[in-house]
């Protein structure tokens, strides 16, 4: 190739990579709308806060499931570690939220790094079970060590104002929602840049065909470990936000239903394009709230029905993922 051609190729490549870098107006509108809602509906701040935290949690799952194609039923492990981490730090004196948030999600990331190698071997079923097993184990550990975690009674904490300026207790619910919003937005921007970077593209390659990606010289193990640790950090941040804004944490943060719910949110919203988590969280939580208000005892039935219908009808990108996954998991399947 001549020098001119190489430069040409390079320019084309850069243009391609840059194409999605600019924020579309629809994205800006999306975030602005959320901000407006927080100010326009102060009475709903608690609900909005819950949605934002769940959105962040679902985003963390999107990083590994949507972008990289790694299945996990154990995101609750990192969510819980982040939540308890922030709560325990606060109980021992570190009650400034932002510092607690950073430390708690770092802790979660460490756990992610430690457990990532478990994901590399075995089938998808193995991955599902291992991730679930780890989060259940952590739940048991938290249960056993009630001197640290408050056991089944949970931990009640008090947080000082964010950055010393914005109280987030009962009277500061809107501030709490804003705090969650800012954290979510910043982390989202990070994820967006990551997805569009060469690293992010390599993750897509891993998702589409791990074998081929490896053959191309992409170190799939290192990438999986890296993104898993990052997603753990995000999930940990979500957990820390929950602990800090609601000022209570209890054992159910490690429950299987947390991992299952976040999976459901991501499915509803669609995985792989980063906004799916937030959209899915909104739909799921609002739907749950509305249905549960109408029928407090039987709302699970409707949610289950929704899930069944969703899966049967299929989500576009899930189908795509499935088609690729089948070749590597079920070599003998007829279909």
């Amino acid at each position: 190739m001549s020098a001119a051609q190489t430069l040409d190729e390079k320019a084309k490549l850069e243009a391609h990579l840059r194409r999605h870098e600019r924020w579309r107006w629809s994205e800006i509108a999306f975030w602005a709308a959320i901000l407006v809602l927080i100010f326009a509906l102060p009475s709903r701040a608690g609900l909005l806060n819950e949605i934002l935290i769940a959105g962040l949690f679902a985003l963390s799952l999107d990083l590994i499931l949507g972008l990289t194609g790694v299945v996990s039923l154990g995101q609750a492990a990192f969510f819980g570690v982040g939540a308890y981490g922030a709560a325990i730090l606060s109980a021992y004196g570190l009650s400034e939220p932002t510092l607690g948030l950073l430390l708690a999600s770092a802790l979660a990331a460490l756990l992610g790094l430690a457990t990532a190698p478990l994901l590399l071997r075995g089938s998808d079923l193995t991955r599902l079970m291992v991730t679930m097993g780890v989060s259940l184990m952590l739940g048991e550990l938290a249960n056993r060590n009630s001197w640290l975690t408050g056991g089944a009674d949970g931990l009640n904490i008090a947080m000082s104002p964010v950055l010393g300026l914005f109280p987030i207790g009962f009277t500061g619910q809107r501030n709490a929602a804003l705090y969650s919003f800012v954290v979510l937005f910043l982390l989202f921007v990070g994820a967006r840049r990551l997805a569009q970077s060469p690293f992010g593209l390599s993750l897509t390659a891993v998702r589409e065909n791990r074998l081929r990606a490896g053959a191309l010289g992409i170190s799939t193990s290192r990438r999986i470990i890296g993104i898993y640790a990052l997603s753990a950090a995000y999930a940990g941040a979500a957990g820390a936000l929950l602990a800090q804004t609601t000022q209570i944490v209890s054992l159910d943060v490690f429950d299987f239903h947390r991992s299952a719910d976040v999976m459901l949110m991501l499915i509803i919203g669609g995985a792989g394009y980063l906004y799916g988590g937030i959209v899915g969280a909104t739909v799921f939580i609002v739907l749950k709230d509305v249905i549960s208000g109408a029928t407090p005892e039987y709302w699970e039935f409707w949610i289950g029905g929704l899930l069944v219908v969703l899966v049967l009808i299929g989500r576009d990108n899930m189908r795509e993922l499935a088609r690729r996954r089948i070749k590597t998991i079920l070599p003998g399947a007829a279909k």
């Binding site: 609900l47 949970g154 009962f170 799916g276």
Partner: protein, 391 residues
Amino acid sequence: MKPNYLISGLALAAVLASAPAKAGDDTVNVGLILPMTGPSASTGKQERAGAELYIQQHGDKVAGKTIALIVKDDTGAPDVTKRLAEELVGNDHAAALMGFGLTPLALAVAPVATAAKVPEIVTAAATAMITEKSPYIVRTSFTLPQASAPMAEWCLKNNIKKVVTIVTDYGPGVDAEKWFGETFTKGGGTIAEAIRVPLKNPDFAPFLQRVKDDAPDAVFVFVPSGFGAAFMKQFVERGLDKSGVKLIGTGDVTDDDLLADIGDSALGAVTTHHYSVAHDSPENKAFVAAFEKANGGMRPNFMAVAAYDGMALLYQSLEKTKGATDGDALIAAMKGAAWMSPRGPVSIDPDTRDIVQTIYVRRVEKKDGQLYNVEFGSIPNVKDPYKASKK
């Protein structure tokens, strides 16, 4: 794939559209937050029935105001409980919050009650320290120390010297173990072993095997209502009933709701508790009859009574404040309130805002082919020993 704007739009519209309940000048909203789904769902069911029965019997008008009961399911998750409490207080202007099936759920709402100055009437959770967490918390259920300490005293009087305790490992269980243990050993008894069983999926078999190996005079049990049947079965299956080990405990293990299901393996068990469906008083007979009629033959249990009494307390206080819903006024009216409940005479201790009631010693017997906790002893005016010991 493009974001699905249609779905998000609909969802946000739903958020905007959900209107809060009206709190006009004459309507008093009462938020009843209970676990209606999940493992503690039976608590929710009984409590809701109890509260609704009171309103049905006494009408929804008191001191010129109309009571509106808003029932919410918190699925047993404290962050949901807290959010529901905040919404009820903030959006629906609830004048009182009731319910709270487990300790963490009650604790989660304490800061909300304090900040909003709204009474939090605890009608289920039973850990002693709950009422200390906010000056706006009042309790109409009971505390484990209240029920456990008298059991220890009964043992000492009845020649039971060596006991193994088995409790579920969470707040109320630890309270029960501690208070039974301390009262018992202070009186000269020995606790051979204190076993704690996990809250989730307990299989009592290995733990009961340990009890059998310890060969005590009696085994003291606390398990949350709902687990009594499993425990009893295992007790009998191990042959413990034939081996001379007496079964004693707090009344949760012979919950009225479940006695029929537990079957004859429960016969002879001695428990201490604050309510039995067989309590022989005109108020209770009327209560049980009305409850069964309104709920398709379902027997009430101590959860239902607590919620029933919670409403009673609220009504009384509103009458005392002549309809004023100011939180401080209501709390002041609640302190020292005394009335005749289906369980017996009760009052609210003005110092601790916790319930003072009679604790009965009962034995499971068969009457007319059905199993009941038949009372044969009682200790009146029992205050919560935990807080009493702090003085």
